[in-house]
């Protein structure tokens, strides 16, 4: 008997990946050269498995802002926002988020994970309900578990399934928080947000949109899917992260309801952790400025997305989403083929993400490619060229048909 007995299934999964020279899990990155290149296993490779959608991690203005704050304000705050960890840097960043949305309140959390934990667990109390999409990110599920609300799930991207569940709540629907994501990171698909808005409005429920993967990417100013779909006025809370388009680490929650401010006194993941380091906040502030004004960055990202999608579809791959987007999930027939693709891409000088059961919806085996505005045409062509070779090597039926 051991405390570790319960991990025998996960140990078996790990053993199954042991044959690879470089581990697809927690892949060691030895040197970072730019937003799109790193040294892995002693070789320089193209990064096609990051969330660096706007490619801002090495942007000179972002780096300079972080360095300046490191020099002027020190390495860390050594305390909670509630105590000694609220610098002008933090409150200025919150004001910038509030201003971007034109809303009265914005809160910054130390990670994106904590933004969901902090907002969800505090907003929905014991008499309230949470209705979350079945494919929600773990930070949403964990926020539900940390809180005390009654949690129900509706079918992925299915407004009718939400409608039925809100209907069963009757008057309780007015105390229900509906949670959807702007872009789902496993398959790269998006929700029918306008239809969800219609349903929640009909039942008088509240709506939270997690724009972790869509912030910076969708909408004229990059505010996310709610902006893209023209429904910002219908949203009660938007949560997001700094660790994707904004290239640092942290999270935010913004709301048209000024009462969001009360979460500063009630949200445990906000209170019982140290606030972000000055350099992180200053870098994020610079990145936010670039992201909001980054029409050209978004245009470049979407050109890269189109270039990538048209090539892999022509190569015969099936993608997890009909809508092209920055997350392209190649759906592969089994784990061995997915692992073979991951290794094959690395051998060809490309790092991607391997996604296998039980972490994936529907037990799918996925190779996930994330695109960045910083990718050059030559890099995209290198990635798609390697995938064309792999489609033939693995004799994918779609490749033969094509």
């Amino acid at each position: 008997m051991s405390l570790f007995d319960k991990f025998k299934d996960v140990a078996a999964i790990r053993r199954g990946l042991d044959g690879s020279r470089v581990s697809p899990m927690a892949t060691p990155m030895q040197v970072l050269h730019s937003a799109t290149e790193a040294t892995i296993d002693g070789r320089r490779v193209i990064l096609a498995g990051t969330n660096n959608y706007l490619g801002l991690t090495f942007h000179p203005e972002v780096q300079q802002a972080a360095v300046d704050a490191l020099r002027s304000s020190g390495t860390g705050t050594t305390g909670s926002r509630m105590a000694n960890g609220s610098y002008t840097l933090h409150t200025d960043l919150e004001a910038a988020f509030a201003e971007a949305y034109g809303w009265p309140s914005a809160m910054v959390f130390s990670t994106g994970y904590q933004a969901n934990l902090g907002a969800i667990s505090a907003l929905a109390g014991p008499d309230d309900f949470i209705l979350a999409d079945a494919d929600s990110h773990s930070s949403i599920n964990d926020g539900c578990r940390l809180g005390t609300a009654t949690v129900l799930r509706f079918r992925h991207n299915d407004p009718e399934s939400l409608d039925k569940r809100l209907g069963r709540l009757g008057e309780g629907a007015k105390r229900a928080l509906v949670i959807v994501e702007g872009l789902y990171s496993m398959l790269g698909d998006r929700p029918p947000l306008r239809e969800f808005v219609d349903v929640k409005r009909r039942h008088g429920a509240w709506l939270m949109v997690d724009e972790a993967h869509s912030f910076g990417v969708l909408g004229e100013r990059g505010l996310g899917l709610a902006e893209h779909d023209g429904v910002l006025d219908e949203v009660d809370f938007i949560v997001g992260t700094f660790s994707k388009s904004l290239g640092s680490i942290g999270g935010f929650c913004v709301s048209p309801h000024a009462e969001l401010e009360l979460l500063r006194l009630t949200s445990r993941p906000y209170i019982f952790t140290a606030s972000s380091s000055p350099s992180v906040i200053a870098g994020t502030r610079a990145a936010l400025r670039l992201a909001l004004a980054g029409t050209d960055l978004r245009a470049q990202l979407w050109r890269n997305i189109e270039r990538f999608y048209s090539a892999v579809v022509a190569a015969g791959y099936t993608l997890g989403s009909r809508d092209p987007g920055p997350v392209a999930a190649l759906v592969l027939p089994d784990t061995a083929t997915a692992l073979g693709h991951w290794q094959g891409l690395l051998d060809a000088g490309v790092y991607a993400n391997l996604m296998i059961p039980p972490a994936t919806p529907g037990g799918l085996n996925l190779l996930r490619i994330s695109l960045s505005a910083a990718h050059t045409d030559a890099q995209i062509d290198h990635i798609t060229g390697a995938l064309q070779d792999l489609a033939h090597r693995f004799d994918l039926p779609q490749a033969k048909a094509g």
């Binding site: 949690v151 799930r153 509706f154 399934s161 569940r165 069963r168 709540l169 309780g172 037990g363």
Partner: protein
């Protein structure tokens, strides 16, 4: 609040709905014993359990909070939990 017994309160009907839901999320596994553990013995993943619950909700027109699943391990326990849920007053 219901005065006539609803199908949600008939144990046999509820168990049929549970088995029908298992058949949808894990074809071929719906014939297991009532005391078989859904995850450890039937082999459902946590995601399949969640999908099964949504199937049951739709078949029985009943809300099943995720929190209820914490103490449920077998088909029999799930059936009992669903019957108890259906007897609770609506919010």
């Amino acid at each position: 609040m219901t005065e006539t017994p609803s199908p949600q309160q008939d144990p046999a009907a509820v168990e049929r709905a549970v088995r029908a839901a298992i058949a949808v999320v894990a074809p071929g596994k719906d014939g297991v014993a009532s005391d078989a553990e859904l995850m450890a013995q039937v082999g459902l993943s946590s995601l399949q359990v969640m999908d099964m619950v949504m199937e049951i909700e739709d078949q029985l027109d009943l809300s099943v909070p995720v929190n209820v699943l914490g103490e449920v391990r077998t088909i029999g326990q799930l059936t009992a939990a669903l019957i108890k849920l259906s007897e609770e007053p609506k919010p």
